[in-house]
C-alpha cells in the first residue's frame, strides 16, 4: 500500500538533484579488484581487532577482524587471497588509519550462499547474532552498528521500523536502484527487523521523486496490512533519521541524547534491510554494497555492486575514467560527503557514492559578513539558529553554543547551502560540537 504523506519537517533546502546521471543505470557488478584495502575502523564506535597476520591466506567471507567492543562489528575478507600488509593507509575520512590489505589469489571470488535451515523461525537472539556476526553497519553513511540499534533497552518498546529510502542527497541513486531491483530483499529484511524488535508496524519512507521504487515495493508487499510505503516530499534532508520520523509518523525525537527509540522507532537504510535479510538467510557477511559513481567528471555514471575495500581508482576506471578538468572528488553525497585527496582511497562500508566533480560543479567561497537575512534559521531542520551559534563559535564561547543546542545539529549542511553570504555555518558548528565533546571528556 502506498500512502502519500502530507506532513513534512520544518526547514530544509532544495539543491539540484542531478539524479538523472545515474538513476536509469541498473546495478552492475564491479570487477573483482586485484587488491582491497580494508580499514579496521569502518563503523562508528571501537575499531575492529585484526585476526590475521601478514602472509595469511584468506577465503572470501572469512572473518579477518573481530569486533572491538559492543559498539563495534567484525570485518570479513571481500575477496580470496593473501594478506600482504597491515598498516596505515589513507582512509576516506582523510586520516591515515590501520588497514588490512588483501591481494587477490586463486581461491573462489564469489560467496557460495547456503540457506540456513529454519532461518524463518530463528529465535530473536540468534537473528541478532547473525546480524552482528555479518558485520552489518548502517548503509546510509553514519555506519552505526546495526545490532546495537536493534537492541534497545527493555523500557523502550519499539512499535515501528522505518526503512529509509529517501535518498535525499543529490547525485546518489544507489538506494533507488536497490529498491527497484531487490524489493523482495528489502521487504523480507523489514519483516526480520520487525520480528527482532517486536515492532507491529513497518514503513518504507521514499521521496516522491522515486515513485517507480515505491510502486515496486508496494507490489512486493501485496496485501500485508502491517507494512506500507509512505511517500514523502522531496526536500533535503528528508533522509535524516529524525526528519523522516517526523514526516512519516509526526513524532519528534527529543534532543540529544534522545534517540529514535525514545519515540518507539528504529530507522534503518533500505540497503541495511537487504543485508540483514542476506545475513539471516544465507549467513552472508558485509563484503559488498551498491555505490553510485557519478558526477560530470566521470565518463559514464554507474551504480556498481562493489566489494568493500576496492580503491576508488579501480571503480572510476570501470566508469570510463575521469575527464581532464577534475576539480574535486567526494565520497558520499555533495551535501555531507567527504572531500578526497586522491583516488587511492578505498570504498568502505559507509560509502554510498563516489562523485567526480569538474570545475564549476561544486562551489567554495570566501566568507562575507552576515546580513542576518535569517535564511539559515529557516533552512535548519533542527530549528537551530545557525547565525547566532556561529557568532558564538567565532568568539570561542562554546558553553553558550552548547546552551543554544549546538549538539542538536545533525550536520546536514542546509544552513551553509542556503547562506547568501557564504558563511561556513555547518563547518563551524561541527567544530563547536567537537570542542564541546572534547571538553565533556576532559570534565568526566
Amino acid at each position: 500500500m502506498i500512502v502519500l504523506s502530507k506532513r513534512t519537517f520544518r526547514g530544509g533546502v532544495h539543491p539540484h538533484e542531478y539524479k538523472e546521471l545515474s538513476e536509469e543505470k541498473p546495478i552492475e557488478k564491479a570487477k573483482i579488484p586485484e587488491k582491497v584495502v580494508l580499514p579496521l575502523s569502518q563503523n562508528l564506535g571501537a575499531p575492529a581487532k585484526a585476526l590475521v597476520e601478514v602472509g595469511a591466506e584468506v577465503k572470501i567471507g572469512q572473518k579477518i577482524a573481530d569486533a572491538g567492543g559492543f559498539v563495534s562489528v567484525p570485518l570479513h575478507a571481500p575477496i580470496s587471497g593473501k594478506v600482504t600488509s597491515i598498516g596505515n593507509f589513507l582512509h576516506p575520512n582523510g586520516h591515515l588509519a590501520p588497514c588490512i590489505v588483501i591481494e587477490k589469489g586463486d581461491g573462489p571470488q564469489e560467496m557460495e550462499l547456503k540457506e540456513v535451515k529454519g532461518w524463518e523461525k530463528l529465535a530473536k537472539d540468534k537473528v541478532l547474532d547473525a546480524v552482528k556476526e555479518a558485520g552489518l553497519v548502517g548503509f546510509g553513511g553514519a555506519t552505526f552498528p546495526t545490532h546495537v540499534k536493534l537492541s534497545p533497552p527493555k523500557d523502550k518498546p519499539i512499535d515501528t521500523i522505518i526503512l529509509n529510502g529517501a535518498e535525499c542527497e543529490p547525485f546518489l541513486t544507489a538506494d533507488h536502484r536497490l529498491m527497484l531491483e531487490q524489493p523482495e530483499g528489502i521487504v523480507e529484511g523489514l519483516k526480520i527487523l520487525m520480528k527482532i524488535t517486536g515492532a507491529k508496524q513497518g514503513i518504507i519512507g521514499i521521496e516522491n521523486n522515486k515513485m517507480d521504487a515505491a510502486k515496486a515495493l508496494a507490489d512486493t508487499i501485496g496485501d500485508d496490512k502491517d507494512i506500507k510505503v509512505v511517500v514523502v516530499k522531496v526536500k533535503y534532508p528528508q533522509g535524516g533519521e529524525k526528519q523522516l520520523i517526523k514526516s512519516v509518523l509526526n513524532r519528534e525525537v527529543p534532543p540529544p541524547p534522545g534517540l529514535p527509540m525514545d519515540v518507539g522507532v528504529v530507522v534503518q537504510n533500505v540497503g541495511t534491510a537487504v543485508a540483514v535479510y542476506e545475513a539471516v538467510r544465507y549467513n552472508k557477511p558485509f563484503i559488498e554494497r551498491v555505490v553510485t559513481v557519478s558526477g560530470r567528471g566521470v565518463k559514464e555514471s554507474k551504480n556498481l555492486m562493489v566489494r568493500i575495500g576496492t580503491l576508488m581508482a579501480d571503480l572510476v576506471d570501470q566508469c570510463g575514467g575521469v575527464t581532464d578538468d577534475v576539480d574535486k572528488i567526494i565520497m558520499g553525497g555533495p551535501m555531507m560527503g567527504l572531500s578526497q585527496f586522491d583516488l587511492t582511497v578505498p570504498a568502505v562500508k559507509g560509502t554510498s557514492g563516489i562523485l567526480i566533480m569538474r570545475n564549476g560543479d561544486t562551489q567554495t567561497y570566501e566568507e562575507q559578513t552576515c546580513i542576518k537575512c535569517g535564511r539559515c534559521v529557516q533552512a535548519c531542520p533542527m530549528k537551530l539558529v545557525p547565525n547566532m551559534l556561529v557568532k558564538l563559535v567565532d568568539n570561542g564561547r562554546f558553553e553558550e553554543a552548547e546552551q543554544m543546542n549546538a549538539m542538536s545539529c545533525i550536520e546536514c549542511g542546509s544552513c551553509s547551502f542556503a547562506c547568501p553570504a557564504k558563511i561556513w555555518l555547518v563547518q563551524k558548528i561541527k567544530y563547536a560540537k567537537a570542542e564541546i565533546n572534547a571538553r565533556r571528556k576532559k570534565a568526566s
Binding site: P15, H16, K35, T84, S85, I86, N88, F89, L96, P170, E252, V253, P254, P255, L311, A313, V316, D317, V326, D327, K328, I330, G332, P334, M335, M336, G337, L338, S339, F341, L343, T344, T362, Q363, T364, Q368, T369, I371, K372, C373, G374, V377, P381, M382, K383, L384, V385, M388, N405, S408, G413, S416, F417, C419, P420, A421, W424, V426, Q427, K430
Partner: protein, 358 residues
Amino acid sequence: MPEEKKQVSTKPAAAPEKTQETEEKAIALKPLRFSAAPHLRDADNVPKIMWDVVIATLPAVLAGVYFFGFYAVKVLLITTISALFFDWAGMKLLGNRGSLFDGSAVVTGVLLAMNLPSSAPWWLCVVGGAIAMILGKQCYGGLGNNLFNPALVSRVALLIAWPSAMTTFYKAGNIFSQVTAVSEPTPMGVMKVEMMSNGTVIAAKGISIWDMFVGNIGGSLGEVSGLALVIGGVYLLLRKRITWHIPVIYVGTVFLMTGIFYLINPDKYINPVFHVVGGGLLLGAIFMATDMVTTPVTKSGMIIFGIGCGVIAVIIRLFGSYPEGVSFSILFMNALTPLIDKVTIPKPFGAIKEVANG
C-alpha cells in the same frame, strides 16, 4: 611490480602523496580542491539581494521623478553618490570588510533619498549620505553589524538638525508640465496642525484618498505614491527578499489602532485609510522595516517587531508633536531587535515533546 610491493609492506605508508606516486593505477590528477561539506551552495548571494531591493525601489523612485521632476533627480543622484563615497571612505578609514559594489550603499542612498523632501538642498543630501554611512553603518563595523537602519538614522538626524529644510515639501506636479517650487504640507502635516490647534480633522478629510494613493500630494520624494511602493513590495515578496510578516503586521496594526480611534470619535481622529496612505507608513513598512540587518530573524520575532512598530507609530502620530512617527517607531524597534532575537529563539526539534513527557 617492485614499486607496488614497497607500498604494501608492513611499514605504514609515509604520506598520502607517496601512495599516489607508487600506486599502480594512479590516475594523473591535477591538485584537487579540498574542503568541508556541503560542496554545493545556493546560487544566491548578498549583492543579488541588495540589487533586488534597488530594483524594487524603482517604481516609487520613478513616481517621485514624475511628481517632482528635476528636483527629485537631483536629490536621488547627490544622495546616492554621497552614500557611495562615504561608505568607501568609512571602510578605508575604519578598516572594515565590505565592497562598494555589493549594492548595500546604493540601497541606503536610494532609500535615504526617498525619505528626503524633493526640496532638499544639495548640501543636505551630502551630509545625509555621510551620516548614514559613517554614523549609521561603518562606525558599527560595516555591513551587517549596524544596529539601526542607516537611512533612518540619517533622516532623523537631519530632521532634528535642520527641521525646516526637512519639512518643506514641494507641491506635486508632473514632469511633463512644469514642476514648480511651491511648497505644500503633507497630508499628515495638515492633520497634525489641525489636531493641535482646534482638535478637528476637517481639512485633512478634504484630501482625496485616491490622490494620496497614487502620490499626487506633498511629501518625501519616495513616500508619496502608495501604489508604486506596493508594486515594489510585491516584487520583493515574489523574489523572496522579504516575508509578508513585518509589512502586513505593521500596516495592519496601524490600520486597526487608528480604526478604533476613528470609531470612537470620527471628528477628532481621521479614518485609518488616511493613516495608511497619507504619510510614510508604506515606505517604512515595505522598505525600511524589512531591512534584514536591523530586524529579527525569526518569524515570531518579525511579528513582535511589526506590532511594536505599529503601536509606536500610531502613538506618535496621534499624541506626539511630530506629524509622522514611522521613522521613530522603526528605529525604536531596531534597538529592541537583539532582545527580540534572543527571546524568540525557536525551541529545538523535539524539545517540546520532551517537556510534555517529563
